[in-house]
């Protein structure tokens, strides 16, 4: 059994794509599609890695990440942040919020896979 990855993303097609890529590589993938209760879901699942979208209904990815970083349990949790807004300031905001890695959509599948492997291994 591989390690657990939680994908928090509201776009069904993207969830499906990421799930497919990671499952094929042997990861165990769970998904969640809104921001409201995302923090609770993470704390409950305690995955090895979280892939987090920025634009989520209910709460932004930045806010969720900040909350996670303020909790002891999730302080060091690897988080790969995805955003469809490709501006410099978005990257800065992600870094400030505490993202382990930041990626702009559209991404290449190999890129995502490598990032996940590195973050979990590191």
């Amino acid at each position: 059994m591989g390690k657990n990855v939680l994908v928090i993303e509201d776009e069904p097609n993207i969830i499906e794509a990421i799930s497919f890529i990671l499952s094929r590589d042997g990861w165990s993938v769970a998904t969640h599609s809104n921001g409201h209760d995302a923090v609770g879901v993470v704390q409950e699942a305690m995955p090895d890695l979280v892939i987090l979208d920025v634009m989520l209904p209910g709460k932004t990815g930045y806010d969720i990440l900040r909350e996670l970083r303020s909790e002891d349990a999730t302080q060091g949790l690897p988080v790969l942040m995805l955003t469809a807004k490709g501006q410099v300031k978005d990257r800065e905001m992600a870094e400030r919020a505490g993202a382990s890695r930041f990626m702009t959509k559209p991404f290449s599948n190999a890129e995502v896979l490598n990032a996940v492997r590195e973050l979990v291994a590191g």
Binding site: D10, E11, N13, I14, E16, A17, I18, F20, I21, R24, N34, M55, P57, G58, A84, K85, G86, Q87, T104, K105, P106, F107, S108, N109, A110
Partner: protein, 896 residues
């Protein structure tokens, strides 16, 4: 009658001779050959207009009635000339450096150039002088009368009147010709002065000739004459100290203050040094004039029958002894005394009347204000001429109306007392810097009221202007206000009483009011200029002055550029000059710098004039003042322009700020729009890329998986296309470059099309649409495709977002506010109030994203409806989500 004719002839020749003298003098002065015109002798002789016909004829009468008291009239001026030499010199210096034109001008200039004060002084001077002119006219006619009656030709009243009128007209003409030939800034009239000097000689010669004739011809030598004097009543005469002191003071004061004396002494003065000669020569002249008065009086009293008028002994004694030629000379002497007084008085008064009354009124009637230029000279000359004629005519009128009777006899002293009221203000003004305009006003007013009340009104005799009971008991029974016994002090001579109280109270109120009030800046400047005239007028060209002036400069600079700046400037200058104190030496260098500094605030002309006032010799000329006025006007215009400009700038700044805010907002909106567009484009592209890579890289995909992933790619590609279409559509609509395709069609048809277009795909059957055919039976004329697009969008939204288990959409057509409305109301949970405001904004999808859409639909709808001159808005309170499309009335009307 023959002698009478000769007399008339001699008179005419004499007058013609005077004209000639005046004309020659003017000519010589014009050609610059008149050095002799500017001799101190001429100046001294011109001062002799002090001796009018009243003195020429009246002195003998005075002596016959009151003994040696007549001497006071000569002693006063002599004391002034000898003892008050320094005061005269100061007056003359001020008059020259300030270009003073009259005593009214002097007083008004000293007290802050107050024209009101000038008008007051002018009016008082006219009041004081008019009876005096009348007296001269009377003396001429009466002496003529005396002459003619000696030859048995009684003149009628009418003939006397016409004589007086002729004389008046002649004098006015002379004064006009030689007094207003041209406008001289220095107000010097060589012709007039020369004629007056000639007349002075004639006066002296005539009186001396008569005197010599009397002493050596009639009395038989000096010894005999003295014996006759001792034997006469005059010899028994007792001196009254109070009257003497008063009269000496009075004649001295009048000598300084009489407008005509001021004219010849100050205005016509050519050279200050002339005063040196005049200070002994004029008293000498007066002495000779007074020398034979008593002998003539004594001999006249002896020689002529009792009851004959002693006032004309000078004339009647030679006549009675058959000395026609001497009598004629004597007549000419009297005539000279009268005419020279009238001429100079008219000249002096006309200058005052014209400058301070006529010209200000004329200027104020000119709408152009200070812009008048070339023709002012002409107007000034005209106004002078009219004033001369008016002054002389006023004298003539007074003479006719007063009947030429005894009322005139005392008028000389009353007049003297009137003008003497100028003395405190005049002397105070040139020696005391603290004297103020208010003080001058109060002092003059008090003095003149008391003069009029105690002397002028009673002089017309009890029961005429002042009732006898008032004289006896005071006004309203107030005994202490009795006109001739103020504060109950009775027993004084009326003249002494009047002079004492009027001058005392005048001076006191002048001082008190000056001390109580504060002088205005201009008064301060003028005060310094007058009081320190010697320091001010010694350096003509470049500036320069004493340290004392620095304080004045400081006061002025503080007023103009502010206390701190002025102090800094002065300290800096003091340091530069290496001075230990805070005040610099008023070196030309410093003054120039100061002038430049001040010019920045008040303009160059004003600054120059102000500094000139304090340290410069040159006084402020009319041109300077015009320049100052000009500058002030320009500065006012400039500052009002600046004000307008700064208002405009504030407005522009406000507009710019608003525009900037708007731009910032737009820029932010653009950033956020781009960011959203990026997001909306990247999301489908992410899916497309991810699945296309999966399809490419994985060979173990099932057929179903392949189909599914290909479909996702396909759908996301379509989504991208729609998004781009919407963006383009919106950008075209927003830019306003839309071509509307106007068509006619039925509302029902459009809705049919919209419903069938919108309700396609999965769940299309679930939505029930409720419509009303009757309502929809309307023809429209508009862009039907665009309208249909709006309808499709709204119906599609209802289908996408209506969360009811049995979704239903009602489409209702109606009218509201003279417009056609189409409402789309579903039975879902509707849109929360907080979001109703933003749903029409771009990319403002609400709630959780169950259904895909770029979020541009409603924004597009809104733009379309704006182009169609209608609107689309959320209709709250309808249960579910409700949108109202409003179309203008004419869309429906046009189709019908």
């Amino acid at each position: 009658m023959g002698t009478l004719n000769i007399l008339v002839g001699v008179c005419l020749i004499y007058v013609a001779f005077l004209f000639l003298v005046a004309f020659a003098a003017e000519r010589a002065a014009l050609e610059g050959k008149g050095a002799w015109l500017r001799s101190p002798l001429i100046y001294t002789l011109s001062l002799s207009i002090y001796c009018t016909a009243w003195t020429f004829y009246g002195a003998v009468g005075y002596a016959a009635r009151s003994g040696l008291e007549y001497l006071t009239i000569y002693i006063g001026p002599s004391l002034v000339m000898i003892g008050w030499w320094w005061l005269l010199r100061k007056l003359v210096r001020i008059g020259r450096s300030q270009r003073i034109t009259s005593i009214a001008d002097l007083i008004s200039s000293r007290y802050g150039k107050s024209n009101l004060l000038a008008v007051g002084v002018t009016v008082l001077a006219v009041i004081g002088t008019t009876p005096y002119i009348a007296l001269q006219l009377q003396s001429v006619t009466v002496s003529f009368d005396v002459f003619s009656s000696a030859y048995g030709a009684e003149l009628t009243d009418a003939a006397q009147g016409s004589n007086a009128l002729l004389v008046a007209a002649g004098l006015a003409l002379f004064t006009i010709i030689f007094g207003t030939r041209n406008l001289d800034v220095n107000e010097r009239h060589h012709g007039v002065v020369m004629a007056v000097a000639v007349e002075a000689i004639v006066k002296l010669l005539a009186l001396t000739a008569v005197g010599i004739f009397v002493v050596w011809g009639l009395a038989g030598g000096v010894g005999d004459t003295l014996a006759r004097i001792d034997a006469s009543e005059i010899g028994q005469w007792q001196m009254r100290g109070d009257r003497w002191a008063t009269l000496i003071f009075l004649s001295g004061a009048a000598f300084l203050c009489l407008p005509r004396m001021f004219q010849v002494m100050v205005v016509e003065n050519e050279d200050e040094d002339h005063l040196r000669t005049a200070s002994w020569a004029f008293p000498a002249y007066l002495m000779v004039m007074s020398l034979f008065v008593v002998p003539i009086a004594v001999v006249g009293l002896d020689l002529l029958p009792p009851g004959s008028n002693p006032d004309f002994f000078v004339l009647t004694v030679p006549l009675a002894t058959g000395n026609d030629a001497l009598a004629m000379l004597s007549f000419l002497g009297g005539f000279s005394s009268a005419t020279s007084m009238v001429i100079v008085a008219a000249l002096a008064l006309s200058t005052m009347v014209s400058n301070h009354i006529v010209m200000p009124i004329w200027l104020s009637t000119q709408s152009g204000g200070a812009s008048v230029s070339g023709d002012v000279r002409h107007v000034v000359l005209l106004s002078r001429r009219i004033s001369i004629a008016a002054v002389v005519f006023l004298g003539y009128l007074y003479f006719r109306l007063s009947g030429g009777g005894t009322a005139l006899a005392s008028i000389g002293l009353v007049s003297f007392a009137g003008v003497a009221q100028f003395l405190p203000v005049l002397v105070g003004g040139i020696f005391w810097r603290g004297a103020t305009r208010t003080g001058a006003f109060v002092g003059l007013s008090v003095g003149f009221v008391i003069w009029a009340y105690t002397l002028l009104l009673p002089s017309f005799g009890a029961g005429t202007l002042v009732s006898e009971s008032m004289l006896a008991n005071g006004p309203l029974g107030l005994g202490w206000l009795r006109p001739q016994a103020f504060f109950g002090i009775s027993g004084m001579d009326p003249l002494v009483h009047a002079i004492f109280w009027s001058i005392l109270l005048n001076t006191m109120s002048f001082f008190v009011a000056s001390l109580v009030g504060f002088p205005s800046p201009l008064e301060r400047l003028q005060g310094a200029q007058f009081v320190n005239v010697y320091e001010h007028s010694s350096t003509p060209q470049s500036w320069g002055g004493s340290l004392a002036q620095t304080e004045d400069l400081m006061v002025m600079a503080q007023r103009i550029i502010g206390a701190r700046e002025a102090q800094n400037l002065f300290e800096r200058e003091a340091k530069r000059q290496g001075m230990s104190g805070l005040l610099p030496e008023p070196s030309p260098d410093f003054l120039q710098r100061l002038e430049r500094e001040l010019a920045g605030s008040v303009g160059a002309a004003t600054a120059h004039a102000m500094i000139g006032q304090i340290v410069g010799g040159a006084s402020v000329s009319v041109e300077d003042l015009m320049a100052v006025a000009d500058e002030t006007a320009q500065m006012m215009e400039y500052s009002s322009k600046l004000e307008a400009k700064s208002e405009e700038q504030a407005r522009t700044a406000r507009q710019l700020r608003q525009a900037n805010e708007k731009l910032t907002l737009i820029s932010e909106q653009k950033d956020s729009f781009l960011s959203q567009v990026s997001h909306e484009l990247r999301t489908p592209m992410t899916s497309i890329r991810a699945f296309s890579e999966i399809l490419r890289d994985s060979d173990r995909l099932t057929e179903n998986e392949k189909i599914k992933y290909s479909s996702i790619i396909h759908d996301e590609a379509l989504r991208l296309t729609r998004l781009l279409d919407d963006l383009l559509d919106l950008s075209v609509l927003e830019s306003g470059r839309v071509n509307l395709n106007m068509q006619s069609g039925s509302l029902k048809g459009i809705l049919d099309h919209a419903v069938s277009s919108a309700l396609t795909g999965a769940g299309a059957d679930k939505m029930r649409v409720v419509r009303n055919d009757q309502q929809e039976d309307l023809m429209l004329h508009t862009d039907l495709d665009r309208l249909s697009q709006v309808f499709i969008n709204l119906i599609g939204n209802a289908q996408k977002y209506c969360d009811a288990t049995a979704p239903k959409l009602r489409i209702e057509v109606g009218r509201a506010n003279a417009a056609l409305v189409v409402d789309f109301i579903d039975n879902g949970s509707g849109i929360p109030k907080t979001e109703q405001a933003v749903i029409f904004e771009k990319f403002s999808r609400t709630g959780e994203q169950k259904v895909k859409g770029a979020g541009l639909g409603l924004a597009i709808c809104r733009e379309i409806m704006t182009r169609l001159e209608g609107s689309v808005e959320y209709l709250p309170g309808q249960g579910g989500a409700a949108f109202r499309v409003t179309l203008p009335e004419q869309v429906a009307m046009a189709a019908q």
